[in-house]
């Protein structure tokens, strides 16, 4: 093993830029670290070279622990993104530099230098200065320079990023050739997938400091182990659908679940990957010659030069939804590769076509992470009931925090029964429940928190009598202030959730409200009313409907709202939720409350997208007002909804 990295951690300003990365690179291997900007890949490379020092972990090069060694002593060659040639030296002097430092005699130096310059295709350029060379030529010099003193490892940090596509290709091939002939262990860092695939023996995919997967390019493409990697590398069609009876069905396609995971036969925990070349499109069902997924409309044709991709919008299939949620759309959008022989039968945009699947890959999904806080109040039991429903339907992982006395309480007992032990973690302890909850939220990234609605802690405390009792209560107001993730505040009479009122404002944050609301509604099996409240003074009544009285401004505003609602509805339906929309005019809080009563809704979804949510100020804040006066559970949407 040439290079062994063990649990490398690097932090900048408290954030872990490299988070417990371990990997091994074999002798003579060409290893590529693939990741987006800021993923930490360059940092890892620099740590290997010694230009950055890891906070934790170790680096072993050829059996030598070099973690604390300065770069001079590591015998690694480094090629920088911006070449970093010594601008005051000629090309020859640049290449010779490493040799001079190692006190190689002049004749030998000259011979080596000439060899290397020839190797990179720059023979005769010795006298020139870097500024007289093109980018590609400079990079070649950089490679020659790094190889001059025969390092044991070659490290390249996005070496071709600044170059034209054609040059990039040339240099890539040249690099591959050189590496193969010198058999030098090489790590190259890049964000370019094509580059990674062309050069690598193995690829390590890095995202936000985490090493997601390491595999040979083909394997990474055809059989990624997670949806993150699947969508990272190449075009991916990812589809989710609940499994039933040990298999997954999409249209006519039936996918058996693997045996080993038989025990994990939980709904929603699988995703199916179709690469564009796995799918076929045809004008008729019969012409497909592959299991049919469904029929749809051609939305777009993407030319890729060597091939063509169709973007087909499938008519909605029940129980099937895309993993990558698109706002404003319903139905699956699939990328289908059209092989070039089928010139004659390229469909036009808007045409209907049938799509079938010849191949697929099954992926385990990352489950939702839920946090439930329990105390001995009735509202807490309601929260637990809601949580249980969601957890079971969505196949989520649940953590429960509660007071010591909760062990035998009905909610906890029920949860133990409904969820498999591997997905359930219960932590009950004396006192300080609120503090523990906050600490837990900071420690782990949850997707949703279930709370009992408990405010006005002072009064509760008094009513509760002993201080010890109150310590075991959840202080929802306090938690709400600092909670970075969406919260479902359970309150009011426990009831079955059949109708959800989703309050949305037009604009980007509103989209998050809809997306999360859709997921929740689907898990609870509820219908959704999408509500937009337009500010208007109730004294004057609603603004005139379309007609001569309407100004351009109000018309434009109305059109915008209607489009937003339309998109919202499509999104909801695309997620498999039955939905309708309403517009009301007036003062937001009272209108929402009115709608709740009129529409007999069982839950409200509202967005609170400022950094801190103060639920203790019902007069000033819409969300707080809702929570205090609605007497229904409220889902408060905040933060970035990832899933």
């Amino acid at each position: 093993m040439s290079i062994v990295l063990t649990d490398l951690v690097k932090r900048y300003a408290g954030e872990a830029v490299v988070d417990n990365v371990s990997l091994e690179v074999r002798d003579g291997e060409f290893f590529v670290l693939l990741g987006e900007s800021g993923s930490g890949k360059s940092t890892i490379l620099r740590m290997i070279a010694g230009l950055a020092v890891p906070d934790e972990g170790s680096i072993v090069l050829n059996g030598r622990d070099v973690t604390r060694l300065p770069p001079q002593n590591r015998n690694t060659g480094f090629v920088f993104q911006n070449y970093s040639l010594f601008r005051h030296m000629t090309v020859a002097e640049n290449v010779e530099f490493g040799l001079r430092v190692h006190k190689v005699p002049r004749a030998e130096r000259a011979a080596k230098r000439d060899d290397l310059l020839a190797l990179v295709g720059l023979a005769g350029f010795g006298r020139r200065y870097p500024r007289q060379l093109s980018g590609g030529q400079q990079q070649r010099v950089a490679v020659a320079r790094a190889l001059a003193f025969s390092p044991s490892v070659l490290l390249l940090d996005e070496p071709f990023g600044a170059l034209d596509v054609k040059i990039r290709g040339q240099l890539r091939r040249a690099l591959r050739r050189i590496q193969k002939s010198m058999k030098i262990t090489t790590i190259l860092v890049t964000h370019d997938q094509e580059e990674a695939f062309e050069l690598a023996d193995r690829i390590g995919v890095i995202e936000r400091g985490h090493l997601l997967e390491v595999a040979a390019p083909a394997e990474l493409y055809r059989a990624p182990k997670s949806e993150l990697v699947a969508s990272f590398v190449g075009d991916a069609n990812l589809v989710a659908t609940p499994s039933a009876g040990g298999k997954i069905s999409i249209g006519e396609l039936e996918i058996p679940l693997p045996d080993e995971a038989g025990a994990r036969e939980r709904a929603g925990s699988w995703a199916v990957l179709f690469r564009p070349e796995d799918l076929v499109a045809a004008a008729s069902r019969e012409a497909l010659a592959a299991p049919v997924l469904g029929e749809g409309t051609v939305e777009d044709i993407r030319e890729k030069g060597a091939s063509r991709q169709l973007l087909v919008r499938l008519d909605p299939l029940t129980g099937v939804w895309p993993l990558k949620r698109e706002y404003g759309e319903a139905g699956l959008a699939l990328l289908v590769l059209l092989p070039s022989e089928r010139e004659a039968s390229v469909p036009a945009i808007g045409q209907k076509t049938w799509v079938g699947a010849r191949d697929y890959h099954l992926l385990p999904r990352l489950p939702w992470r839920l946090l439930l806080l329990v105390d001995d109040t009735a509202r807490s039991a309601y929260a637990a009931a809601l949580c249980e429903k969601v957890a079971v339907t969505a196949g989520a992982r649940l953590t429960v925090l509660g007071g010591a006395g909760q062990e035998t309480s009905p909610p906890v007992v029920k949860l133990r029964e409904s969820l498999p032990a591997s997905d359930l973690r219960i932590s009950l302890a004396e006192g300080g429940l609120t503090q523990r909850a906050l600490a837990e939220l900071e420690r782990v990234g949850y997707d949703l928190v279930f709370l009992p609605g408990a405010f006005g802690s002072e009064q509760e405390r008094l009513r509760g009598g002993r201080k010890g009792k109150a310590d075991e209560r959840v202080e929802s107001g306090e938690i709400a202030v600092q909670c970075p993730v969406p919260m479902l505040v359970a309150q009011g009479e426990p009831r079955e959730t059949r109708r959800v009122l989703l309050c949305t404002a037009a604009g980007e944050p509103g989209k998050l409200d809809v997306l999360l609301g859709a997921q929740l509604a689907r898990s609870l099996g509820a219908r959704v009313t999408l509500l937009h409240v337009e500010h208007a003074d109730p004294r004057w009544g609603p603004p005139p409907e379309e007609g001569p009285g309407e100004t351009t401004a109000t018309r434009r505003a109305r059109a915008w709202i209607e489009r937003h609602l339309e998109q919202g509805l499509r999104t909801l339906r695309g997620q498999g939720v039955v939905a309708e929309s309403r517009i009301r005019y007036g003062e937001p809080l009272s209108e929402i409350l009115a709608e709740v009563t009129e529409g007999d809704h069982d839950m409200i979804v509202v967005g609170a997208h400022r950094e801190r949510t103060y639920l203790d100020a019902p007069e000033r804040d819409l969300v707080a007002g809702l929570v205090h006066r609605a007497d229904r559970p409220v889902l408060i949407v905040k933060g970035k909804v990832e899933r």
């Binding site: 230009l51 950055a52 300065p70």
Partner: protein
């Protein structure tokens, strides 16, 4: 990006370099050798005497007295003596000497400045026991005016005329400035300034009215007169010899001798501490003696000073104008009392200065 290892090393390098700097500065590039052979007169080795003087007599020392002494000393002892001279305002010079300027001989304008050096423990002998009470030269406070005296300034009271521009140096640094103020104050008390006799308040008021006309206060007497020469001011209060030297250098001005003025007496003293440190006592003592002798005194006279040595004084008496009422610092009660009354915290001049200062 420096790794923590290299960063630590670079910091220690910087620390090391700063230590080197301190060591180097302490090591210094010029070392003063400690006191040399003190006892005998090393006939071959030259000796250096450092002179700390006030601004006015730089010509008489530089051009006349020092060369004369060098010749004399060479003759009597066979030793070459080299002089290092520094000239500043008398009080500034005294402070420099106290602060560490290693003058062997202090040639100052004010007795009080010599006392300052003595108080700092640098002069350990009784310098007033020397001939003429330690004084080597005298002069008087006069008023320099433009050729022909166009503003018709005749005596002290004229200085209070509104709109007149009067020059006098800064008493904080210049000895001459203190002589000037003492002269004015004394003259006022004596009734020669147009105010009531023996009336301190009136005398203070007189000072105030004069200083209202003072726009610039230079650092030393010499600077003050050169400012006058540049065309600034209508009248400059200064030493008589300052004017005479100026005339020798080709400057054209007239001067008025007030009816009542103070006798300026300039002391010289050997600074024991530094003299012994440098091991030059013999030469230094000889020098001070020389200054009291007839040769030096004649030279003083040639440069416009009034000699203290009687015979030489008599010889040169006719060359310089007589003063109707010439008085000494004793009239104001001696230097200590005068300094207290005028420049102390509650002193008359201090008050005048702050009162005027608030109006500027």
């Amino acid at each position: 990006m420096l790794g923590s290892v290299s960063r630590g090393a670079s910091r220690s390098a910087a620390g090391f370099l700063s230590l080197v700097l301190v060591a180097w500065a302490s090591g210094g590039c010029r070392r003063e050798t400690p006191a040399a052979n003190e006892s005998g007169l090393s006939a071959k080795k030259p000796v250096t005497l450092i002179l700390g003087g006030y601004t006015t007599p730089r010509e008489v020392y530089g051009k006349a007295i020092l060369p004369a002494f060098q010749k004399e000393w060479q003759g009597t002892s066979g030793q070459r003596v080299q002089f290092r001279e520094s000239y500043q305002g008398s009080s500034a010079q005294a402070r420099a000497i106290v602060g560490g300027f290693e003058a062997d001989v202090a040639v100052l304008s004010l007795e009080g400045d010599i006392d300052k050096i003595a108080q700092a423990g640098l002069i350990t002998h009784d310098w007033k026991a020397a001939p003429h009470g330690g004084m080597v030269s005298t002069s008087i406070v006069v008023l320099a005016v433009r050729p022909g005296n166009p503003k018709k300034i005749l005596d002290w009271p004229d200085l209070t005329r509104p709109g007149l521009n009067v020059l006098t140096p800064d008493p904080k640094t210049s000895g001459g400035a203190q002589w000037n103020i003492n002269a004015m104050y004394g003259a006022a008390l004596k009734g020669f300034a147009g105010v009531r006799k023996d009336d301190r308040a009136a005398a203070k008021d007189f000072l105030k009215r004069v200083f209202r006309n003072v726009s610039i206060m230079d650092k030393g007497a010499r600077e003050s007169i050169t400012t006058f020469e540049k065309g600034i001011g209508d009248v400059a209060i200064t030493y008589e010899n300052e004017i005479l030297i100026g005339r020798q250098a080709g400057q054209k001005y007239d001067y008025v001798v007030p009816r009542s003025t103070i006798l300026i007496e300039n002391p010289v003293a050997l600074v024991d501490r530094y003299v012994d440190q440098h091991g030059v006592r013999a030469a230094a003592e000889a020098f001070v003696t020389f200054l009291h002798g007839p040769q030096a005194q004649s030279l003083y006279a040639r440069y416009g000073l009034r000699p203290v040595e009687e015979s030489v004084a008599k010889e040169n008496a006719s060359k310089l104008p007589a003063v109707q009422d010439l008085w000494k610092i004793d009239y104001l009660g001696g230097w200590k009392k005068a300094s207290q009354d005028l420049y102390g915290p509650e002193g008359a001049f201090t008050q005048v200065f702050s009162e005027l200062g608030s109006k500027r």
